[in-house]
Subunit: 120 residues, 2 copies
C-alpha cells in the first residue's frame, strides 16, 4: 500500500480524477486532501476536499449520487489520483452524467440523467 | 466557441485532463493557461503550462510523443477541460502509456510502451 504521507500534496491537496469504470467516461475532477483519500479508501465511497466550503465533502451526500470506488491509481508524479468508480445517478450537479458535458462550441454532448430541481 | 476569457482560471491556470479518444484510457493531467489552450486549439497538438519551468510546454516536444487533440470538453464549473486525443507513443515520461500506471498497492498495472533512456 502506498503511504499517503508520500504523495506530493500542494497546499495539502492533490487532484482526483473520477472515471466510470464500466463506460470509461471521465466524470469529474476535484481536489482531495489526505483525510479525503483515507476516508475514500476506508469507506469505498469517494470523498473530496471542498475548497469553497473548506470541509470534507462526501460526494453525493445530498443527492444520493454516490461514487463507489472500485480501484485507485496514482500518477507518476504522485500528485494526482484516478478513481475508477460506479456512479450512482449523475456526477454533475447540472444533471449530467459527466461534468464534461459541453464541447468547445458550448454544445451539450453529455447525457442528462436527472433534473437538478428534483434532487437538490 | 466558448470564450477562453470566461474560464475560471486560478492563478491563471485550469486543469487539463487527457484521455485517449479510442481506448478511453486516462493518460495524464497537467495545468493549462490561456496561451496553452489557444495554442492547443490553433495547432491541434496539446500544450500545457509547465509550472516547474514556468513556460509553455508542448507535450512530446523532446520525445516526439505528441498528443493530437481531436475534441475538447469543458466542465460545468469551467475550471477544467478534457482533451480527447490520439497519443503518439506514451504519455508518461516513465515509459508507460498512461501516467496512472500504478494502483494503490504500488503494483504496475499500466502498459509500458517505450524505454525512457531510448527517448530522453
Amino acid at each position: 500500500m502506498i503511504d499517503f504521507g508520500n504523495l506530493k500534496y500542494e497546499n495539502g491537496l492533490i487532484i482526483g480524477i473520477v472515471q466510470d469504470r464500466a463506460s470509461k467516461e471521465v466524470l469529474m475532477c476535484a481536489y482531495m486532501n489526505r483525510e479525503a483519500l483515507e476516508k475514500t479508501v476506508e469507506t469505498g465511497i469517494a470523498h473530496f476536499w471542498s475548497r469553497s466550503r473548506q470541509k470534507l465533502w462526501k460526494k453525493g451526500e445530498t443527492s444520493g449520487h454516490l461514487q463507489k470506488v472500485k480501484e485507485i491509481r496514482i500518477d507518476c508524479d504522485m500528485d494526482s489520483v484516478l478513481l475508477l468508480v460506479e456512479q450512482v445517478g449523475g456526477a454533475c450537479h447540472m444533471g449530467y452524467r459527466s461534468c464534461f458535458y459541453r464541447n468547445l462550441d458550448g454544445e451539450v454532448v453529455g447525457e442528462k440523467v436527472f433534473e437538478p430541481e428534483d434532487v437538490y
